[in-house]
């Protein structure tokens, strides 16, 4: 059973992401509304992948990633950053903060699913 954490302050986006990813075999999907909640959850339980939005209240995506990458218990977890734009400097920032991959909104469902599958180790 692989556990995925969707981190986004928009309920709609989380629902949408969930609907795309539930079709993957053996996955359990959980949600967090901001970076702090996400950090708490990942410290408490093991996740296999995170999907992280950039803009969130309390703690944004970049900060969350940096927190993850600075903790030995968490630093291996692949995290896909969800951006709204594809500008070079935003991407640089994302990877410098520790993103494993980036995707822009609106999601291409198939692309998202494949990216997640590959990062879980599956040749979907």
């Amino acid at each position: 059973m692989r556990r995925i954490l969707l981190v986004d302050d928009s309920h709609t986006v989380r629902m949408y992401g969930r609907s795309i990813l539930t079709s993957l075999p053996e996955v359990q999907i959980e949600e967090a509304q901001n970076g702090i909640e996400a950090l708490e959850k990942t410290i408490a339980q093991k996740f296999d992948l995170l999907l992280v939005d950039v803009n969130m209240p309390k703690m944004d995506g970049y900060t969350l990633l940096r927190e993850l990458r600075s903790r030995p218990a968490l630093w291996s977890i692949p995290a896909i950053m969800v951006t709204t734009e594809d500008k070079e400097e935003d991407l640089r920032r994302a990877y410098a903060a520790g993103a494993s991959f980036h995707l822009s909104k609106p999601f291409d469902p198939e692309f998202l699913r494949r990216s997640v599958a590959l990062l879980l180790g599956e040749g979907a």
Binding site: L68, S100, S115
Partner: protein, 730 residues
């Protein structure tokens, strides 16, 4: 190579059952095509024995090769059998005996997707519930969707394309893990009669069929994996030593995990095995190089030397901000950027639009009030003030409506971008060379309109590609370029959107249209002789008309233009076709830019109120008893020298007719529909209102007599009649 034509011979029921079985998981399916040697029987063998006892048989078909001289003596001794079998088994080997037949016994893997395709003749179909189904499909309401589909399936001719689509959709919905993309592809094919299977087969069960020796990798999967590997290179940062970067070990480990998983996913087990070593070496050296090298090795082996410089993941050492760890997040910059565009949920716009619509309708009650103030309460002053306020509210509401409508605008590119692929596929299938030019895809229209456009345009494309544009040789012989051109353009004009599709094919064969029209009894030869060529071309819109005699490879039959016109009219538009022989055909569709509020006149008949589109109302008259004449079986009135037939509306609606009081006249509503005048005898006229008409859905969806329902200012629901249907009933 799989012979997919053969798969079409397998009855749909068998394919559906097999699909369900395969999706449920576990054992894969294989297709065996066995052609025994011609001398097998003569040498004393019995080829069928090799096949008869195969376990897991799901289909068996026989055929015979031709071309061998058929004489009584030699005939049976020359084996001409071709055996096609579908088997469900964990192993494609099936049996040693078959394996030793080598090339004669070809086994190929059969995936669930290969089985799923609709068959049958497309029927002219109107499905008002289609909008509802699309919505249910988007929201993945499986059970509700299934119910609607099952119900529709019962009403649809069993052998039709549409019924096949519905049965397949139900089958997919019933399976263990309903495949959303397959459902959407099937649904799209319902009205277009063109089925395009989704690109990737998703089920994990499918992977179990792949033998570990030969991982069947699509190059797409590799390409995707390559993107991920490049991302890890970006994550790993600059090539040289990383200096005082607090996040570096974390990023190293993250990249290592991602790489290991991706390598495993594509079957690159040897690379995956080298990762932990590379990580250890990197930590010791204080540089990511060992891991980078491994990643670059993978990229090279998959797709040649990667041109990382052009990849958006390329971040050179000097530019990488690894040395300067950014200060804790400041959201302001990001927020400022985000505010330029607002992303809104479509549902919120719809409810906003609904509220505005209700407001538009609610304001209509104010004139009522004004009248009551004057008549019931005797206050003319108050009535006047109410009317003045109403005028203000009316103006504001109209502006509000217009503003909200415009929020729903979206560029036509949304629907246009699906066509290049469609054109490529269809023209390839027919062996034609066709270039597609798209102009004006940034032109915007209401979301609802844009979504309605896909189906009619697909029909038009198929007609152009199938019957319009000629084969390359034919074109060359006619002095044209071998490659045909189809031009799709969109532009604004006033409050309309004009979409044009033009091809440079051989145009519509007017003579053939004329003959077909006569054949189908649509017009007499005399009648047609008097009409111009352009007029005759308009006959292609007649229901049931189809100029295609030959079964085309695309669909079996050209899908009628009457269907296209229905779709366009339903969206509130018009469609015209012009054609020049040898030069090509142009189809022009005009559509409203926004969804409009329409004016409806309310009348009383048979004890109820009913609405009619104001645009069709010519006038209202009150006729004295003597003026309502008997003409043949019916009644008529004379209006300014013209005889206009009159029908009791109550009778048309099968409502009880109210008794006419002797001496009292009759109220007649004179309508004009498609150039014809027609009178409806009603019990009384009421006001004319602005309403938003919603088409009937669900249980009442099949009632063609009504355009839809509208909500009135006082909350009542009004049924609005479709005058065209009234004419058709008479």
């Amino acid at each position: 190579m799989r012979d997919t034509a053969w798969l079409r011979e397998v009855p749909e029921k068998n394919r559906r059952e097999l699909y369900t079985e395969l999706v449920e998981g576990g054992t894969p399916a294989w297709q065996l095509c066995y052609t025994p040697a011609a001398d097998a029987v003569a040498r004393g063998q019995d080829p069928l024995r090799l096949v008869r006892d195969l376990p897991g048989m799901r289909w068996f078909a026989l055929d015979a090769r031709s071309g061998v001289p058929d004489s009584p003596d030699s005939g049976p001794s020359v084996c001409r059998l071709i055996v096609n079998v579908i088997v469900v088994a964990s192993d494609p080997t099936m049996s040693e005996a078959l394996a030793s037949e080598g090339d004669r016994a070809v086994v190929t893997h059969l995936a669930p997707y290969d089985l799923c395709f609709p068959t049958g003749e497309p029927q002219p179909q109107d499905w008002p519930a289609e909008v509802e189904v699309r919505d249910l499909l988007k929201r993945k309401q499986g059970l509700a969707l299934w119910r609607v589909l099952a119900a529709k399936s019962k009403e649809t001719a069993e052998s039709s394309w549409q019924a096949s689509v519905l049965r397949w959709m139900c089958c997919v919905l019933e399976s263990v893990r309903p495949d959303q993309e397959l459902l959407e592809a099937l649904f799209a094919s319902f009205s277009t009669a063109y089925f395009q299977a989704p690109v990737a087969a998703p089920a994990a069960t499918d992977r179990s069929t792949l033998s570990p020796k030969e991982p069947s990798q699509t190059s797409e999967l590799r390409g995707h994996a390559a993107l991920l590997v490049q991302a890890q290179l970006a994550l790993l940062g600059p090539v040289g030593p990383v200096g005082a970067d607090a996040l570096w070990p974390g990023r190293l480990h993250a990249a290592a995990t991602a790489l290991e998983r991706v390598f495993r996913a594509v079957g690159a087990a040897e690379l995956a095995a080298k990762i932990s070593e590379a990580v250890a070496a990197a930590l010791e050296a204080g540089a990511a190089t060992p891991l980078r090298t491994l990643a670059e090795e993978a990229l090279r082996s998959w797709q040649g030397v990667p041109d990382l410089a052009t990849s958006k993941f390329a971040i050179s050492a000097s530019e990488h901000p690894a040395a300067a760890v950014p200060a804790p997040a400041r959201n302001e910059d990001v927020e400022r950027q985000a505010l330029r565009m607002l992303k809104v949920e479509p549902g919120r716009i719809d409810s906003l639009l609904g509220l505005v619509g209700e407001l538009a309708v609610a304001k209509n009650s104010l004139p009522f009030l004004a009248r009551r103030a004057e008549l019931d309460f005797g206050s003319r002053q108050l009535a006047r003030e109410i009317k003045e306020r109403y005028a203000v509210i009316n103006r504001i509401t109209e502006e509000l409506q217009s503003a909200v409508m415009h929020v729903r605008m979206m560029p036509l590119a949304h629907v246009f971008r699906r066509f290049p692929r469609l054109v490529r596929d269809l023209s390839a299938k027919l062996g034609k060379l066709i270039r597609l030019e798209i102009v004006g895809e940034d032109t915007e229209a209401d979301k609802g309109i844009v979504e309605e456009l896909f189906d009619p345009l697909v029909h038009l494309f198929r007609n152009s590609i199938d019957h319009g544009v000629e084969m390359p040789d034919e074109r060359e012989a006619a002095g044209k370029a071998r490659e045909g051109l189809i031009r799709l353009s969109a532009q604004h004009a006033d409050d309309r959107v004009i979409i044009e599709m033009r091809d440079d094919g051989h145009g519509i064969d007017v003579e053939r249209v004329r003959q077909k029209a006569i054949e189908k009894g649509l017009a007499s030869a005399d009648d047609l002789r008097q009409r111009s060529d352009d007029d005759i071309i308009q006959l292609i819109f007649a229901p049931g008309f189809s100029t295609v005699e030959n079964v085309s490879e695309l669909s079996g039959r050209g899908v009628g233009m009457d269907v296209v016109r229905t779709m366009v009219t339903r969206a509130g538009g018009t469609i015209t076709v012009t054609s020049k022989p040898q030069e090509g055909t142009t189809t022009r569709i005009t559509l409203p830019v926004t969804m409009a509020v329409s004016r409806v006149m309310i009348v009383e008949a048979g004890g109820t109120e009913v609405g009619l589109p104001f645009v069709n109302v010519r006038e209202t008259v009150h006729v004295q008893p003597g003026d309502l004449k008997h003409v043949g079986q019916g009644r008529a009135i004379v209006l300014r020298g013209r005889l206009i037939p009159v029908w009791p509306l109550a009778e048309l609606l099968a409502l009880p007719q109210t008794e006419t009081v002797a001496g009292e006249g009759t109220s007649v509503l004179v309508l004009r529909v498609d150039g014809h005048d027609l009178g409806l005898a009603v019990d009384g006229f009421q006001e004319t209102v602005d309403v938003i008409t919603k088409p009937l859905a669900g249980v009442l969806g099949h009632l063609e007599l009504f355009i839809g329902t509208a909500m009135l200012g006082d909350g009542r629901v009004l049924l609005v009649l479709d005058p065209k249907e009234i004419v058709r009933c008479l």
